[in-house]
Each structure stands twice: as C-alpha cells, then as structure tokens.
Point group: C2
Chain length 193, copies 2
DNA sequence: CCTACCGATCGGTAGG
DNA sequence: CCTACCGATCGGTAGG
C-alpha cells in the first residue's frame, strides 16, 4: 500500500517532468520548477527519485524500449513491406498523440543523458533505425517501393511524423485519423498529381 | 579599422555560439564555455555583445529574415506552383547545409527568446508558414497538387527538410544534389510504386 | 515531506 | 581584454 502511493508520486514526478522538459528543455527546468508543478519541495522529490539525470534516463529509455519492442512485433507479421511501413508510421503518430511529452523529450533532450546512458541510448536508436531501414530496403528489392536512397527515405519518414506533436491539437479542425490518412498519402503517394 | 576588428570578433562569437547552442542547447551553454571556444574570458565578450539573450536573438532573426525575404522573391516569380514549392524545398535544404548551426538554433532554441522578441519571432514564423501554405493551397486549386490537407502538407514538408542537419554529412555516401533529388522525389511522388 | 543549508556555477559588472 | 567579484540560482544532502 505504501509502495503503491510511492509509485504514484514517482509516476506523477516523471509525467510532470516530461511536460516541463518538453516546454523548457532539460537544462531550462529546475528541480524547484518541477517541485512546484508536482506540489512538493524540490528536496522532497529525492525520496521518490535519485537524481534529475535519472528522470531524463527513465523517460528516454521508456520511449526507446517502446519503439524497439513494437518494431520487433511488426517485423514478425506476414504483411507486405508497404503495410509494415504503414504500421510503423501509424505507431509513431499514435505515440506522438498519446505520449507526446515523453516522445519529445526522447527526441530532443536525449543528448543530456550522462555518458554511459548516452551511449546506450544512441545504440538503441541506431538499432531501431537499422531495422526500419531494412524494411524499406526489402520493400524496394521486392518492387513495392520506388528505388530511392534508403537513408533519405528513412529520415524523411521519421522527420515527417516527428513534428505532429508541435502543431497537432486534437479538436482543432482535424481528427487523429484524418491526420494519419493525410500523412500516409503524402509519404506514400506524394504531393504532386 | 578598429570597427572592422570588432565586427570580426563579434561575428566569431555569434558563429561559435550557434555551434555550441546547437550542440548543447542555449541553457546548456555558459558564457564561459563560449569564451573558451572563442579564445577570450567570458567577461571580455561583453565588449562585443550586450548579453547572452542578444546572441540568441541575432541568430534567430537572421535565420527568419532570410526565409522571409527568399519566400517573397519566390512568390514573385512566374513559375508553376509545383516549381515554387520545389524552390522553397531547395532553399530549406541549402540553408541547412550552408548554415546548419544557425538554422538548428532558430528551430530549437527560439523558445528561450525573451518575451517581446519571442512574440516577434513567433509572428514572423507564422507569416512565413502562411505564405508557404498559400502556395500549396493555390497549387491544389490549380489542379497541380493532390487535394491533401494544406497544414499537413506544409508541416510534413517543413519537417522532412528540417532534419537534414542531424544526419547529413557531406562526403558520406551521398552528395547535396543527390540528397535534394531524393527528398524532392519522396515529397512530390511518394515512396510507393 | 519540510527546513536549512552546502559548494558550484551562472550571467553580468566594476575597474583598470 | 583581464582580474576580481556580485547576487542569484542550481542539484543535492543532512537531519528531523
């Protein structure tokens, strides 16, 4: 029971930290800012977390773990390469909408991870990118996709979904489904007629 | 003569600041870090610039001014809408390659501008986006482009070119021209066959 | 979970 | 352009 309460507070700290890090950056967010948001003195939060660095760590690896496990699942399906890539785009958009603050932090503030965690994170991201790129490459080889440069295609896709968080606001003219449909059309069929 | 030297130092400070802000963020870069990079004590730099905030200001508005004046030029040409949009994509990629540090700072650290400059910057960006969106809208109306959501198309394009800076390294497998060709193909014709 | 406080570092100024 | 320094704020600890 005490454990439950402790975990709730801990999760609250992590959630509020993700929002603040997204809004003001890791360096721009002080433990006193975070305490004010959580409703606690800065010093008190150290009963729930070990350090400011640890907060960033937990957020970043939570996100990268999610992407990596989902990629593994998608790789195992029997779908076409086009559909596998669509599933990955869908995953990115969905995570952006559902857990945008954490995803933003993992995208922008990962560089402030401490040395060893930084290496681990970069490696995890590289592995994810390699897996994604392999699907594109195989899709081209299978004749499903245009013969573009694989890296360019990979990063164009990753970038295109990345900024959903910055300008998409639910209930402002376009639904999540319409958003996804439009992005899919653009990436797969292009803007020109 | 004395003025010339002063301006050179000032420009050096601005250039090194852009690199450091890009690498470590505005908040993560101290005036002492910057001084070390420039070859000066932190205090000495205040003979060339007024404040750390001013450095960020100059970098951000230099970039937004460039985009806005180039957009105005492109708008006045007689080219088709597709070609105008291609010209804008070309502009973004070229600026990313030529002045990537400053562009990155304007993209990521603008939020640390002081209140009034922040408003001005957001307004400038909004104006640019409106002008870009208008070209897409007119291109759709003219039947040159697919009838996708204009905002989605705009931000997908802006995002897709934005991350060139993060992964493109000259001389590593692909030239700037090939990069541009590939991005154009993807955005205009799509990935699917 | 709070008060009180630590050493370090910050942006910036004074004075030369 | 440097030395010396300011008040403020930082992440974190001690002790209760």
């Amino acid at each position: 029971m005490a454990k439950k309460v402790k975990n709730n507070k801990r999760q609250l700290i992590l959630d509020e930290a993700a929002k603040l890090f997204k809004a003001k950056g890791f360096g721009g967010t002080s433990m006193r800012d975070l305490g004010a948001q959580v409703g606690m003195e800065a010093a008190s939060m150290y009963n729930h977390i070990n350090s400011k660095d640890e907060i960033l760590e937990i957020i970043c690896f939570h996100v990268s773990d999610t992407y990596i496990s989902q990629l593994a699942q998608i790789e195992q399906t029997q779908a076409s390469y086009v559909d596998k890539i669509k599933a990955l785009i869908h995953l990115h958009i969905r995570l952006m909408i559902e857990d945008g603050a954490a995803v933003s932090v993992a995208n922008n503030d990962w560089k402030y991870l401490t040395a060893d965690k930084l290496e681990a994170f970069k490696q995890a991201r590289k592995n994810y990118e390699k897996g994604f790129a392999a699907l594109i490459e195989q899709g081209i080889a299978a004749g499903e996709l245009q013969p573009v440069n694989t890296s360019v295609a990979l990063f164009t896709i990753l970038s295109a979904v990345r900024w959903v968080e910055l300008w998409y606001r639910p209930g402002r003219g376009i639904t999540a489904e319409e958003l996804e449909e439009n992005i899919m059309t653009l990436l797969l069929n292009g803007l020109a007629k």
